[in-house]
Symmetry: C2
Subunit: 340 residues, 2 copies
């Protein structure tokens, strides 16, 4: 969608992304993390590694564990606990994905059949529970009550965010503020915790812990905002993601909140019919996209993302210049300027 | 069913049960635990306390938290952490109930509409996740890595047990040993952990920890075996439980395992049709009960429960005679001789 792509005139031409660059900086660690992940999903109950392996293998770029590894690196950490914690963060993330797909009744995740579509809802709920419990077992090995507190708290906030989202689904009256609370919970809190524990294992001062927490939190908000834009504008082949999923589910995201508030009565009736009553017809998705474009809802959601991205970047101001810091800064822009 | 009730010629006539007696011994603590439970299920997201409050209010006799309180008392513990841990145990139990009812597609729990029937499957999955996370937050406050390890491990084993049960559902070939692994995981492990943490907070020697662990484990196995008998023999009014739930779901429990193995080919065909193919007709439940009676499957399941009950009783041999010990011993018999 031109209105969105035009927001980024400096699109890089190189074939490696800043996320690739960050990942390359922690490549050894990440290899170790992948081994830990495979090792720790084992169980005498065969269905557990089968299902967990399926979703972990399908599992994207390991953004969250890479953040933990990079944060520990930024803090000069020399031990090995950050690897275990990176795997913990991925397990928590995977458990929430499994439960999300059950809750959303999704058939696809990143272009592949979702775990619940392949293995059934029951197994997805229970294997999610297993991964979550296993994550806490692994955390105990790190022997840090602070780390345990941070990740237990993050998990509770994630669940709160998901329940809040359930309450706002199909409610076109949802305010931007309420939506922000949802995505802080369901997405940004785990980004924050993933970064923060990198400082905690390195035993760094509170100011650095907070800095990394705030970097993760704001990066997470920006990430989710852009994800919500992509649901209306992505080129499917690029993302392995079906455009219009949120629309079909009546999920209220910021593009909808803005288009609804900026629309006239006839347009609001359209949003109520499609998102609240889920009475959707041929051409409705295209109409939704057209209304969003007309009101600048997608472009302004990306602008909002830039605001949080700027906070994320400034959060790292305390840290000295070094390659991993530069990569973390570049990742902020990358997350916002992902392929539309 | 006469064959079962006759197994207990010494049915007590008093109106208080041994569980009532045990509960009375820790009444002050339990009152505090109930306050903690209500307090800690609070959240700014209103649906969470609504749903959690619904299932906790419906929630039976608080057997597991009473075990934690009694174990701490038996170990002479004088602090207050056992109350927090008793609430933690109830939260973990409640979270698994919420997910179980989603997995089993249950409409009733203890005679009331199940939480998923009232609030929907989505909310039940997510509020279960919240309670589970909240339990870990509360554990961190106790500042004992040993306690955290025990309960994280128990949670993982519970999830494994549930997945194993999913794999054995509808499989009439399930062996007694495989079934035992299922109930060790899904039920007995939390009983064991609930008792064990009572010794851990009291900082007692490893032998006492193990003794309480083994008491809980074997009590839990006996409890589940009898529960499975009750599903074919309970007087519904007494239990607030629908007879035949397991049968209708094709859930393979020990009474079925025994009746199948002891039956002839025609009978095995009946079990395959009803439990594997779930092709059930009028009179099938009665036929199942009749076959179980003919082969002594219910009576022998209760006998198996007595075996584990005896191990549970002997586990407490190390502890000096005191009222709470006597009450814990009596609870074993009570669990086995519950109203049929």
């Amino acid at each position: 969608m031109a209105v969105v792509t035009n927001l980024d005139p400096h699109r890089r031409k190189s074939s490696t992304t800043p996320l690739d660059d960050l990942t390359a900086l922690v490549a050894d660690d990440l290899l170790a993390v992948n081994t830990i992940i495979v090792d720790r999903m084992q169980s005498p109950v065969a269905l557990i590694p089968q299902l967990a392996g399926y979703i972990v293998a399908a599992g994207g770029k390991r953004l969250r564990p890479v953040l933990t590894l990079a944060a520990a690196r930024l803090c000069g950490y020399r031990g090995e606990h950050h690897r275990l914690l990176a795997a913990v963060v991925e397990f928590i993330h995977t458990a929430t994905l499994l439960h999300d797909d059950v809750v959303d009744e999704s058939d696809l995740r990143r272009g592949l059949a979702s775990a619940n579509a392949v293995f059934g809802n029951k197994a997805s709920v229970l294997v999610g529970d297993f991964l979550f419990s296993r994550a806490f077992q692994m955390m105990v090995e790190v022997k840090s009550l602070e780390v345990l507190g941070i990740l237990a708290n993050a998990s509770a906030v994630i669940a709160e965010g998901e329940v809040l989202q359930l309450q706002t689904t199909n409610d076109t009256q949802t305010s931007e503020q309420a939506y922000l609370e949802v995505i802080k919970g369901k997405t940004a809190e785990l980004f924050a915790a993933a970064c923060r524990v990198g400082a905690v294992v390195a035993d760094r001062p509170a100011a650095e812990e907070t800095a990394l927490n705030d970097y993760g939190l704001n990066l997470g908000i920006a990430f989710q905002l852009v994800d919500d834009v992509l649901d209306y504008s992505a080129r499917q082949a690029t993302l392995g993601k079906t455009v219009g999923d949120d629309f079909r589910e009546g999920k209220i995201t910021l593009p909808v909140v803005l288009a609804f508030r900026r629309g006239n009565e006839e347009e609001r009736a359209f949003w109520r019919r499609t998102m609240e009553e889920l009475d959707q017809r041929d051409g409705d998705l295209e109409r939704a996209q057209e209304l969003m474009t007309r009101h600048g809802a997608l472009a302004d959601t990306v602008e909002r993302a830039r605001h949080y991205g700027a906070i994320a970047r400034d959060s790292l101001g305390l840290f000295p210049d070094m390659p991993v810091k530069r990569a973390l800064l570049d990742v902020v822009d990358f997350v916002i300027d992902r392929e539309f």
